[in-house]
């Protein structure tokens, strides 16, 4: 009896520090943010005002632009990136490939760049006089330099290209690790039975990787919905509001404009709800039979 108690005590004492830290720095701020979202006023002078902030949201075009941009980034960049990562991982999971270690390292390398750094590099590379324009001009693909970062649509595209460049290798490592756990004899048996490469890819690889595809898509969605560093340093949300993300809007509302904590807390709550809803939807789509 005493032994059992001591055993339980040991278990709880080991999880104590981590749990307290997580709870203090995620759930307390979350509850606090909800209380703030019901208050209006400038700076620290706040008074309760019911759901006024949430009503203001509905009419705030800057908010809807930011939400739309964020979802657009997620919708375009995540599928392209994960499919790329999967294709590269399948190609690299071939022991006959001589340069496999070299390719793997090269393709993973973008993940080591700091977010601020690679954003500045891309800003530079896609600048008016930047290398991309120089090359396109030399090839006569365009008559005059393209203002990539000054045009609404192109600026969004540059951000998406940058995101794909930075993160594909990261997810590729997850797929490669998972592929290495699949027993080789499964593929050999399939080959004996006359399965083509594509058949075994769709009939064996994809179903076995389903849990990891689910995990990576959740991770990618989560990080895209929180996009901040790249947009701030690549376009600073511009031109106008064209590339601004929701995280950046919350930041601006709290620290760049006249601080309206209550309203920005309301915006952040909408993001929270959005993340939860999208995660649940994604679980329905990709994760049906995942323990």
């Amino acid at each position: 009896m005493i032994k059992k108690k001591r055993y339980a005590l040991n278990g709880w004492s080991m999880v104590l520090a981590a749990s307290v830290l997580v709870l203090v720095f995620s759930y307390i701020p979350m509850i606090w943010a909800f209380i703030l979202s019901l208050q209006t006023g400038k700076g620290a002078n706040l008074a309760f005002s019911g759901f006024a902030n949430y009503e203001r949201l509905l009419k705030d075009t800057a908010f809807w632009t930011a939400i739309g941009n964020t979802l657009l980034y997620a919708l375009i960049h995540i599928p392209i990136m994960l499919i790329m990562a999967l294709i590269v991982a399948v190609l690299l999971n071939d022991s006959k490939l001589k340069l496999r270690g070299f390719y793997r390292t090269c393709i993973f390398l973008p993940c080591v760049t700091s977010l601020v750094s690679y954003s500045i590099l891309f800003k530079n590379i896609f600048g008016i006089d930047g290398i991309v324009n120089q090359v396109l001009l030399k090839c006569n693909a365009i008559d005059q330099a393209m203002p990539f970062l000054l045009d609404d649509k192109w600026a969004k595209l540059v951000i998406i290209v940058a995101l794909i460049w930075r993160y594909s290798g990261y997810y590729m490592i997850f797929y490669l690790s998972a592929l290495q756990n699949i027993d080789k004899s499964v593929y050999e048996a399939a080959e004996v039975d006359g399965c083509s490469f594509f058949q075994s890819f769709f009939k064996i690889t994809v179903p076995l990787l389903k849990p990891i595809v689910y995990l990576t898509s959740i991770m990618a969605l989560n990080s895209t919905l929180q996009l901040f560093d790249e947009v701030v340093n690549l376009t600073n949300g511009g031109p106008g509001n064209a590339t601004r993300t929701i995280s950046q809007y919350i930041y601006d509302l709290s620290f760049n404009y006249v601080p309206s904590y209550g309203y920005s807390a309301a915006v952040s709550y909408v993001v929270l709800v959005l993340v939860v809803i999208l995660t649940v939807i994604q679980e329905r789509i990709t994760g049906e039979k995942n323990e």
Partner: protein
């Protein structure tokens, strides 16, 4: 036919690899060029390396930002590995209904976007008079739900018999964790260490809010503010970018083998 396939495969991977490493080539040639040449897309090496380095360390005090970032990263990696690994371990070795619920609550917190927490956290730390203090950066970074999840996942493949044997030998639970579990899980620690290091080294939004003194700024803040100047000196910025990339490259290459092993263990 098979040979053709092999060539196409290699060609494809070579193109992807080249695209992946091009920006690295760009930053390496960049440090040796004048700001004007960098904006004009000069692809060859120049002669301004010493001038850029001198400017970067003199004018912009990149050196101090580098040391600040390094110090923070080391403290955060050590503390978060310690705290999260013991929690991940206990969630597997001492399972109970209460702990399952707690684990779920911890994992669910990963869904909370950071932006949703910035105002309360800002007010929390200003209330504690800890703004502009490194504790404001370190404390929230220690308890990482992702690392707890990562250690729990890896502990599932840990041989439990060794723990029972150690109990028979009379070791207490904490001794078992430190003397038996930790040495056996080196590759998990290496992989988790890389994640923790990168998260701390790259951290941008929260330090931007919590730190106010230039002398306390971390590398991403300084590099970002250099690039946001009206006439940015790209030669100097490239030094900053290189400086913020090199440590991660070193950490990654030193731990690469263990990193891959640790990752394989986590997706089982």
């Amino acid at each position: 036919m098979n040979k053709l396939k092999y060539v196409i495969k290699n060609l494809f991977l070579t193109i992807i690899s080249l695209i992946s490493i091009f920006p690295f080539y760009w930053m390496i040639t960049g440090v040796t060029n004048e700001s004007k040449d960098i904006t004009m897309g000069k692809l060859t090496f120049g002669t301004s390396l010493f001038k850029n380095v001198k400017n970067a360390f003199g004018h912009a005090e990149l050196w101090r930002a580098f040391l600040n970032s390094a110090m923070l990263a080391i403290v955060i990696v050590v503390l978060s590995l310690l705290v999260c690994s013991i929690a991940g371990y206990a969630f597997v070795i001492f399972p109970s209904k209460g702990k399952n619920i707690l684990f779920f609550v911890i994992i669910a917190s990963m869904m909370i976007p950071f932006a949703a927490k910035i105002i309360p956290m800002f007010r929390m730390f200003s209330g504690l008079k800890l703004l502009n203090n490194y504790l404001a950066i370190i404390l929230p970074a220690i308890g990482s739900p992702f690392l707890i999840f990562f250690f729990k996942q890896n502990t599932h493949s840990y041989p439990v018999e060794t723990i029972q044997a150690a109990r028979v030998d009379g070791l207490n639970e904490f001794q078992i964790f430190i003397n038996i579990y930790e040495p056996m899980m080196k590759s998990t620690y290496a992989a988790a260490g890389i994640f923790a290091f990168m998260a701390s080294w790259n951290n941008y939004m929260w330090p931007l809010i919590a730190l106010q003194d230039n002398s306390k700024f971390t590398l991403p803040l300084v590099v970002s503010s250099l690039a946001a100047e009206f006439t940015p000196d790209y030669g100097m910025i490239m030094v900053g970018i290189l400086l913020s990339t090199i440590p991660v490259v070193i950490v990654f290459f030193v731990l690469q083998k263990s990193f891959v092993e640790g990752m394989v263990g986590s997706v089982k």
